[in-house]
């Protein structure tokens, strides 16, 4: 079994949490007792910080670390006390007072108002709403690009014919589980939603499965490096694409669901695998070759030049050790590679822009390659 399999088999829904005594040992080790109501898993991050301070400090501030926000900890809603938009016959309002936000939809006669408990996303934000025992994905979302509300991405085709349907897309159990499984940590246990153990955002143990064994053995061995969780950095690009794709969508999922057209620019593992240069075994191309998930994504295009030049540099011009299979050298430029070869793509709703991870010689006015 390789590393991917080890980590996959410890995907949150398969985690086998150990006895309370294990948690107690860890709490003791980090030297703090949680306050009443504080959930134990937070202490894993604290425990990790002892040996991995850099990652533990930066990751919670990244968009992944803040992928789910709770009432009272939502700067977007706090700074926008009243958001409103009219869509067809319905008017939507998100009103925030004293750290409490309410999502409401009205047809001018009747109104449905639902308290917001779960805010998904750190930039653009969508709300998961509970109404009469059902979960809904809010039909409108907040978009920083317009600093306001508009139809939730992907829901443009929904045409609600009742006020209840106008709340948003009704979610199946699989949908709800999938939302929380990606935007939170320990939200799903044995395939079932477990809101009691949920920790908002992506935390260490979301990706680094096997963490509890590692911590326990660390304690028991007095700090020796034993039982390290499988190293995700050692996964080959195909495996890491599938690992990250569990949330960012795998190539196979996008292919299977038939999500074609510009909308799939959001699904980077799919786009990357379609690139001519993608090689499932070459570590110079893959999610981790360019991105450190513990850091906020770098927006400076030149940052990525060395990543491209790892393959596309003229022979002898790279400071990197020689590697096989050097690729063609760009005859146009030697910097800002992504501006031409990973063109920015605006989604059909015009509200979000993504770098197209299908790396290629992009020609002007060419149709979007599926």
């Amino acid at each position: 079994m390789n590393a991917w399999k080890a980590s996959a088999s410890l995907h949150p829904r398969h985690c086998r949490w150990q006895t309370l005594s294990v948690v107690a040992i860890i709490l003791f080790w980090v030297g703090s007792v949680p306050a009443a109501g504080q959930v134990a898993p937070q202490n894993f991050s604290s425990a990790c910080a002892r040996c991995h301070p850099k990652e533990a400090a930066s990751e919670p501030t990244t968009p992944m670390g803040r992928a789910l926000e709770l009432p009272g900890a939502n700067p977007t809603l706090a700074s926008h006390p009243k958001l409103t938009v009219r869509k067809g016959p319905y008017t939507y309002t998100v009103q925030t007072e004293e750290n409490k936000s309410v999502y409401s939809v009205t047809d001018g006669i009747h109104t449905i108002a639902i308290p917001i408990r779960w805010s998904f996303g750190e930039g653009a934000q969508t709300w998961l709403l509970e109404h009469n025992g059902e979960y809904y994905e809010s039909l409108v979302s907040y978009y920083p690009s317009i600093d306001g509300l508009d139809i939730t991405t992907g829901d443009g085709s929904l045409k609600p014919d009742t006020l209840e349907a106008a709340i948003g897309r009704k979610l199946s159990n699989n949908d709800v589980t999938a939302c929380f499984d990606c935007h939170a940590t320990k939200a799903v246990s044995n395939g079932q939603l477990s809101l009691a153990t949920l920790e908002p955002g992506v935390r260490c143990e979301h990706c680094h499965t096997g963490l509890e064994n590692h911590l326990v053995s660390q304690i028991q061995s007095g700090g020796d490096i034993v039982s390290a969780p499988p190293s995700l950095g050692r996964l080959n690009p195909e495996e890491i694409s599938r690992f990250c794709g569990q949330c960012h969508r795998t190539w196979e999922l996008v292919a299977r669901r038939g999500w074609r057209g510009v909308i799939n620019a959001r699904f980077q593992p799919y786009r990357l695998a379609n690139s001519k240069c993608f090689d499932g075994t070459d570590h110079r191309i893959g999610c981790l070759a360019c991105h450190d998930p513990h850091q906020t994504v770098v927006r400076d295009d030149t940052f990525y030049d060395p990543k491209c030049l790892a393959c596309h540099a003229a022979s002898g011009s790279s400071s990197l050790p020689p590697r096989p299979a050097r690729a063609k050298v760009c005859p146009v430029a030697k910097s800002n590679c992504v501006t031409c070869h990973m063109p920015k793509v605006r989604l059909p709703n015009g509200l979000m822009t993504f770098y197209d991870h299908q790396i290629r010689v992009a020609k002007p006015n060419e149709p979007y390659p599926n």
Partner: protein, 535 residues
Amino acid sequence: MGAVCLLIACLSWVRLAAQGPDPQQIFQEAAQAQQRGDFALAASKYLDVIRLDPNVVAAHANLGVVLVSLGRFDEGIAEYQIALSEAPGSSPLRLNLGLAYYKKGDFSGAAAEFASLHKEDPGNLRVVTLLANCQVQVGLVGQALALLKPLAEDNPDNLDLEWAFGNALIRAGESPEGLKRIQKVAERGHNLEAYQLAADLALGLAQYDQAREQAKTAIQMNPDLARPHLVLAMMDDFAGNEKGAEIEYHKALEIDPKVFQARIQLANTSPIDRQVEKALQTVDGYRSLQASSQLHNEQVLRYHEALVLARLGRFQDALQAFAWFASKKISAPELIEQIGRVGLRRTVPPKYIREKDKSLFMAAGSAAFRYMAGQESEARELFHKLFQQFPNAPNAHLLYGHLLYGRESELAIQEFQQELKIAPSNADANMMLAWAYLMQNDPSAALSYAKKAEQEAPELPVSQLVLGRSLVETGDAENGTHYLEKAAQLDPGNPEIHIGLAQAYSETGRKEDARHERMESLRLTTPAALPVANP
């Protein structure tokens, strides 16, 4: 129509140039050509007149008539509109314009013209009939009925009104009353089209004697029509006269090889061979022709498609075809029984279902129908009753698992496991469990089920697929690739197999092979009609 045009010619004739070719002479030649049916020559002559004097209203009006007769509707409509700009408000011209829209199939455009004429002359029964027909076509059935009902009562001998009223009633779901009207038109007007429709309707309403009688009359009037033969074939089929049914189905197919129902019915009664595949191709062809836009045809199409798919062993696809009925809340005991039979994967043809199996099929069918109709809690209760009443019925838990899988995969897994308790060697349940675990990124859990599935049904490409993927994802890429390649040989059109191969090749450094497989799977998957993907 001719009288209308000549009237326009008399009323609207304007001064024509006196020198050079005589436009009046050419106009007369055009009118003569039109009267003897030489529309191409008439059109050319009217155009000559218009070239000499573009303001001749009669030439535009008559050219419009000729062009519509030639099937050149848009050009004809344009000529009527030019004429109307010169003679605004002319009722005959507006009637002609409405008829042009009607013949073109633009029922909204036609309805607008007829509605304005009706407003001016509410007693004109021809206009009312045309307007109502248009309203029926554009879905305003209620308005059509309101318009036609009092007039039909006051004019019981007007067969055009009866025909329009009958059709509106049928579209409103009042088929028995509609049938009466259509029968009246058929008998009093000795109308072939009405006899055919009446036969179809009577068949749909289970008035078999009447259906047979109407179909026979239609065949006497025109023996080269396929549809009445099909009705007779189905009558024989229902009566258990297989030989007679086969003869009539073949007659229908000889007349029109595209009569999909005949092909499907033959497929459903004959052994599985090329006939079945051909039937499915016919269904696809029929659908691509969009002939299924009428609800009645769509129902027949879906129902028989499901039965053919079941005969091919494609039970899941068959259920998908049945799901359409549930989504439309169209239910009937025969349909429910068939859903149950197909859901429980019984291949016995409908007519050979044993009496003792009927209650099982009805129970399974009712539960599945409820689930497919979105009534999940009612479905859950019905499935639990089914499991209590028939605790050892093969494939019952498999059916529920399949239905649950898309929305509640964990519950689906439990049902597949229940199925294996009843029948441990059930290849489908093993395959589904392996697949479900693979989709949960738990290949270790998938592997044992995949091995069992392959052992039980090595001839099935999906069993090779799940074993291949399970092996690749648990680290045995070499063996896994072998099974995946075997799966691709068995079913090269299955995109899932190419997805598996792409992954296997990618992980083993076969970059170009992986790329080829990715492209192949993209080619084989259908782009989603509405690309919805949650944020």
